[in-house]
């Protein structure tokens, strides 16, 4: 039901003049979940605002995540490991970043769905019952409906099955679990209209399909083997294998040639080869979340988990079971993608839970090993009399437990500190310390959006860089050209061209796009560094990446020395483009000093002809311009 509702919705308030078919461009899980909670609570006469539901959804789901983590680690090792893992994931900064109240993001519920699917999968592998595999498929469906990261999931489960096959651990339990998960899961996932036929047509999902086939073959081979003697079997096996391999390669080639199988999509390429995105798709590279993970951020987000993780791997290897193989694979793969390849900061989210589980296993195993060696004081005295040769055992154990406790305490302190420093302040309200140590609040974004909401015509079209799209939609309730759902590259590129062109050209583009207001971000007065001038090079790159934007060349915006400067030395193209004029108009009045880039700006008397200042916020962070109508003839 939810799916068809989403399909019908067409949003004409975003991506003007194209509009956006909501169902086809988003994962509905998050919204369906919050709407369901809202309706159920209100049906029970718990009159809670839908906004509060949204705000507290992420914390609610992160508490579910904690519970699921406990069960998952309990299945993998022991209840003790489960408890430690649950405690760790409850405070790990890498996950808190997406689960603070007010973070209304797909990832907020997706991590829960992912762990739930893993738990169900482990249960299914352990028991080999249809019940658990169906539950796993349902959990997988929920995951698909909520986040694009489900691709990771549909690759790691087949990989687990494949590994089990290679290590000779394939059994009827695995067969039942995987076959039913794949069939039910794929059919369900195709009900999400954003996913559509991708599970049977794109290369990301081919691995799962291949392993499904292998499963059937493996099971069949096992069956045949049980009815034939060894010689007969070997002959048959060789003949069949070579035929199938040849046929398979041929079919794949034909399908790819006919275009039935989608070529490898950009995001996937960038997953395998980090330089792909930077070279080919500027919009993917421009998102800071898609930047390579800095090594320090591992320590920042995970702290002691970074070095407890290999210990956990050791304990998993030392007692190898079907489910331990899964967690080893998950751990190794996610650290590979998040770290070694240095792909995306966003993958930290996938990494954090497995880090917690493996560290939970490690800490719990270490502690239970050493705790046994500590006896209570009274018995110890007796022991000393009896067993002089074990004199140091208890002391060393005590020391080790103490060190471990210190580590755990440090972890807690670090997590609390990171959460309060880095992840608790809303990014929409900025704050700074004044000269006298008092707190200054920069509430400029909301000021501007609220001004738009109440003092512009209801059908006004607002042009801004796509970062602010969702905020303008939600807070200003105005039609926008591009937003954070970056589904149409060409359109974003057109906005980039308007920002990067000279005023005349920009006016043409703005008339063409029917823009009424232009919103730019300027941090030069307050020292807010992520403003539009610092994002400007991305606008140039994205603007120049399509056919219509061939007149925009990145090197025009650099000085001959190859620098990006806004002072007098800056390139004339830059000093005369639209956004420069917007950002610095009247900011150019004396002293005209930019505190972000610490320079005196280059073009101080910029006069805008086709735009007029409509509103500027208290600290100048947001500036809104009105596009003037065409002048009357002869006027």
């Amino acid at each position: 039901m939810c799916v068809c509702v989403c399909v019908c919705v067409f949003d004409d308030r975003a991506w003007y003049p194209l509009g956006r078919i909501i169902g086809g461009t988003i994962y509905p899980g998050l919204m369906v979940t919050s709407a369901a909670i809202y309706h159920i609570l209100n049906w029970l006469h718990i009159s809670i605002d839908v906004r509060n539901v949204c705000v507290f959804l992420a914390p609610l789901f992160s508490s579910f995540t904690t519970i699921v983590t406990y069960h998952l680690a309990k299945e993998l090792k022991s209840p003790g490991a489960g408890l430690v893992a649950a405690v760790m994931i409850a405070i790990v900064p890498g996950y808190i970043s997406r689960s603070v109240a007010g973070s209304y993001d797909n990832e907020g519920i997706a991590i829960f769905c992912m762990l739930l699917t893993y738990y169900m999968w482990i249960k299914a592998v352990k028991t080999g019952t249809l019940f658990w595999s169906t539950m796993a498929a349902l959990a997988y469906f929920y995951m698909v409906s909520s986040w694009g990261g489900y691709v990771f999931l549909i690759n790691i489960i087949p990989l687990h099955v494949l590994t089990l096959m290679i290590t000779g651990r394939f059994s009827h339990r695995v067969y039942v679990a995987y076959s039913s998960l794949y069939v039910i899961g794929t059919i369900l996932s195709m009900q999400i209209s954003f996913v559509g036929f991708q599970p049977v047509s794109t290369s990301e999902h081919m691995g799962a399909f291949g392993v499904f086939g292998l499963c059937q073959i493996h099971a069949f081979v096992d069956y045949v083997r049980s009815h034939l003697n060894k010689n007969q079997f070997d002959t048959l096996f060789r003949a069949v294998i070579s035929t199938i391999a040849a046929a398979g390669v041929l079919t794949l080639a034909v399908l790819a040639a006919l275009g039935k199988i989608a070529p490898w999509t950009g995001r996937f390429y960038s997953l395998l080869d980090p330089s792909y995105a930077k070279n080919n798709i500027p919009i993917i590279a421009s998102v800071s979340e898609h930047q390579p993970t800095a090594w320090s951020s591992f320590y920042f987000d995970l702290q002691m988990l970074t070095f407890m993780f290999p210990v956990g791997l050791y304990f998993c290897f030392s007692n190898l079971t079907d489910e331990n193989i899964f967690i080893i694979l998950y751990g190794v793969l996610s650290i590979y993608f998040a770290g070694v390849m240095g792909v995306m900061v966003r993958l930290m989210l996938v990494l954090a839970p497995v880090m917690c589980i493996l560290s939970g296993i490690a800490v719990s195993s270490l502690l239970s090993t050493y705790m046994k060696q500590i006896d209570d004081v009274k018995v110890e005295k007796k022991k000393q009399r009896f067993e002089g040769n074990y004199f140091m055992r208890s002391e060393i154990a005590t020391l080790f437990v103490c060190v471990m406790s210190v580590f755990l305490v440090m972890y807690t302190l670090h997590c609390t500190w990171v959460t309060s420093e880095a992840y608790s302040s809303p990014s929409i309200v900025l704050s700074a310390r004044g000269h006298d140590g008092s707190r200054i609040i920069f509430d400029d974004f909301r000021e501007a959006y609220y001004w738009l909401r109440h003092n512009t015509p209801e059908d006004a079209k607002v042009m801004s860089w796509w970062d602010y799209g969702y905020q303008i939609t939600a807070m200003a309730n105005r039609t926008i050209l591009v937003d954070n759902n970056t589904w149409n590259n060409t359109h974003i590129s057109r906005v980039g061209q308007a920002m990067a062109s000279s005023e005349d050209k920009a006016y043409q583009i703005m008339r063409e796009l029917d823009v009424d207001y232009v919103l730019v971000i300027f941090g030069g007065l307050t020292g807010y560094s992520s403003d539009d001038i610092n994002k400007f090079l991305w606008m140039v790159r994205i603007g120049g990446s399509t056919d219509k934007g061939t007149h925009i060349k990145e090197h025009d915006y650099y000085t001959p020395a190859g620098e990006f400067r806004v002072d007098k030395e800056g390139s004339p193209t830059l000093l005369n483009c639209l956004i420069f004029g917007q950002v610095y108009t009247e900011g150019g009045k004396p002293p005209g000093y930019d505190r972000v880039r610490n320079v005196e700006i280059g073009n101080k008397d910029f006069e805008l002809d086709v735009l007029e200042e409509a509103y500027t916020t208290e600290h100048w962070i947001v500036r809104i311009y009105k596009v003037k109508d065409l002048p009357n003839r002869g006027a």
Partner: protein, 597 residues
């Protein structure tokens, strides 16, 4: 003829229908003296007229008429007529001779006898009558407005002498109409005195002057009051504000706004006054808390300094919410099951405020009956509705009323009488109790019900074994403690050398050890029924324990011998050392066995 009769009938019916409110011009009344003060310093126009009425006729007069022009009638917000400090009864009426003029009939307290005089004060407030002229100005310009009125006081009675004083906010006056005699000072313009003015005299007055006072209008005020009999009244006001002065023409320049301070008519902030007992005050809008506000608590009120997110220029509007809680004992009075709610219909929003439309909703507790509303001035009461919130079953009754065009004079109390059986207070707690009771009951039932189709023998026997093993552990622990005691005795004996004393205690301890051992032996039998594996282990435990016991007993006898001198020190050492080793081995063995069970 027939048509004529028909017409007559119509007129008769019409006269009858209007009859009760039909005013009549009393030709006997004369305005001896009129002093009028017109205050146009703010956005509302306050007109106060002091009239000395004289009865020049022969019969006593019970009432008189106050007249307003149609324009004034349209913009009229409130009108009060007082005489000698008490408010007179007033009602709207019509006069056939002057169909265009609006009349109010005022009843005097005592009939006015012939050739007597009486002083009456008529005060009324007009809103939206000042017209910005020009209608739009640039950011740095000053706001000019135009006031159009009447040089004479409109009265249905002839006037002997009258003067009008117009208070203006500043000496900057563009132009004003002159009807001699007039006088102009910095803050006022005086018209008159005019002598012997006929009834219904009109002469257009127009003043074009600078007025930079805030032209702020609440276009819609939604005030919601939620009454709880648990001691709290929650008030929330949703307010739409519009700056309806001269609208802003051209661009807004933040640079000029910050550096030049020349935005005369813009509004940066305003003061709202709420009751002194208000707690938990919040100021927010659709996108969250508005961080720019200050609260000052004073003796008689709480003063809020509200700053909208952005300064308001002409034509700009904003929208916000203010909410707070007040204790109900200040506003809710009761006698038995009858309650009286007495609180303000509107509260102060800002000085010289005008409210275009008010919607007041009062949410009463569930189960309230016989609601009776009394207001100090006429309002339009809407149909009662129901409101559902936490723990509601049948819904809370909601009283709503609406009124247009209100000003500060309307800040007055309403009274709401209703009946609320106090027993209903228990409904909500009982509901919660019942819900939890049902929940626990269901859990109890679920835990106790066995819904499996077939019994799983394996798990059950496993559970039995584990419970038995646990018992083994507890018994063994007791036994171990007894061993410790025994050893302590041996130690004591070494120093005290009192064999008899020691023997009595050791005997007792040995007996208890035997008891514990017997308990475990019994358990072995029980365990064997489910698992021979565990039973064997426990049996082995018993065997090792026996060996341990023998060692300890041997040690005891050795010590006894040593103490009583039957054994030499050297002999004792020789026998005790192997025993010690044996004991140690036994202990180690027991430990490993216990961890396996």
């Amino acid at each position: 003829m027939r048509g004529c009769r028909y017409l007559l009938l119509c007129v008769l019916v019409g006269v009858l229908a209007l009859g009760w409110c039909q005013g009549e011009l009393n030709k006997d009344l004369v305005n001896k003296k009129i002093e009028r003060k017109v205050d146009i310093t703010s956005q509302v126009v306050k007109i106060a007229t002091k009239i000395t009425l004289e009865n020049s006729g022969a019969a006593p007069v019970k009432s008189f008429l106050v007249a307003l022009t149609p324009e004034e009638k349209e913009k009229l917000s409130s009108i009060i007529v007082q005489s000698g400090g008490s408010v007179l009864k007033i009602r709207e009426t019509k006069v056939d001779e002057q169909p265009d003029v609006a009349f109010y009939k005022v009843d005097l307290r005592e009939p006015l006898n012939p050739s007597k005089t009486v002083n009456v004060d008529v005060e009324y407030i007009l809103t939206h009558i000042l017209e910005p002229y020009p209608a739009s100005i640039q950011q740095g310009e000053k706001q000019l407005v135009k006031y159009s009125g009447n040089h004479y006081v409109l009265s249905p009675y002839p006037t002997t002498t009258q003067t009008t004083t117009v208070a203006v906010p500043s000496p900057n006056i563009e132009s004003y109409s002159r009807l001699k005699p007039t006088a102009h000072t910095d803050t006022s313009i005086t018209y008159g005195p005019y002598e012997s003015v006929a009834a219904f005299s009109e002469d257009a007055m127009s003043i074009h002057y600078e007025n930079n006072s805030p032209f702020l209008t609440v276009t819609r005020l939604e005030r919601m009051i939620e009454v709880s009999h648990w001691g709290n009244i929650a008030v929330e006001e949703t307010i739409d504000v519009l700056h309806n002065g001269a609208s802003l023409k051209g661009p807004f320049s933040r640079y000029d706004y910050q550096r030049e301070h020349n935005s005369y008519s813009s509004i940066k902030s305003f003061k709202t006054i709420i009751p002194a007992s208000a707690k938990d005050v919040y100021y927010r809008d659709e996108i969250g808390n508005i961080s720019t506000s200050h609260m000052r608590i004073q003796d008689d009120a709480v003063e809020l300094d509200l700053r909208p997110r952005f300064p308001l220029f002409g034509g700009w509007k904003t929208h916000y919410k203010i909410g707070y809680n007040v204790p109900s004992y200040e506003y809710l009075y009761s006698s038995g099951d009858e309650y009286l709610l007495k609180l303000r219909i509107i509260d102060h929003v800002f000085d010289d405020m005008t409210i275009d439309e008010l919607l007041l909703t009062i949410i009463l507790p569930e189960g309230v009956r016989n609601i009776k509303l009394e207001t100090p001035y006429p309002v339009e009461r809407l149909a009662d509705t129901l409101h559902y919130t936490y723990l509601d079953t049948v819904g809370r009754p909601v009283v709503s009323l609406t009124k247009k065009n209100m000003v500060e004079a309307h800040i007055q109390d309403l009274s709401l009488h209703y009946r609320f059986p106090s027993l209903l207070m228990l409904q909500e707690p009982l509901l919660v109790v019942l819900a939890f009771f049902l929940l626990f009951l269901m859990v109890i039932l679920y835990v106790r019900l066995d819904l499996t189709l077939s019994k799983d023998e394996a798990t059950e026997s496993k559970m039995r074994v584990s419970s038995h093993c646990e018992q083994v552990h507890t018994h063994h622990e007791k036994r171990a403690r007894l061993y410790e005691k025994l050893e302590e005795e041996i130690h004591k004996l070494k120093s005290s050398k009192d064999v008899a004393q020691s023997q009595t205690t050791t005997k007792k301890i040995q007996a208890s050890i035997k008891d514990e051992t017997q308990f475990i032996n019994d358990l072995v039998g029980k365990i064997r029924a489910d698992s021979t594996d565990y039973a064997d282990k426990v049996a082995e435990l018993q065997k090792v324990d026996k060996a341990l016991r023998e060692c300890v007993v041997q040690q005891l006898t050795n010590v006894e011998k040593l103490v009583s001198g039957k054994m030499s020190k050297q002999q004792y050492m020789d026998t005790d050392n192997p025993l010690h080793r044996k004991k140690e081995e036994a202990l180690e063995r027991i430990k490993s066995l216990l961890s396996a069970i």
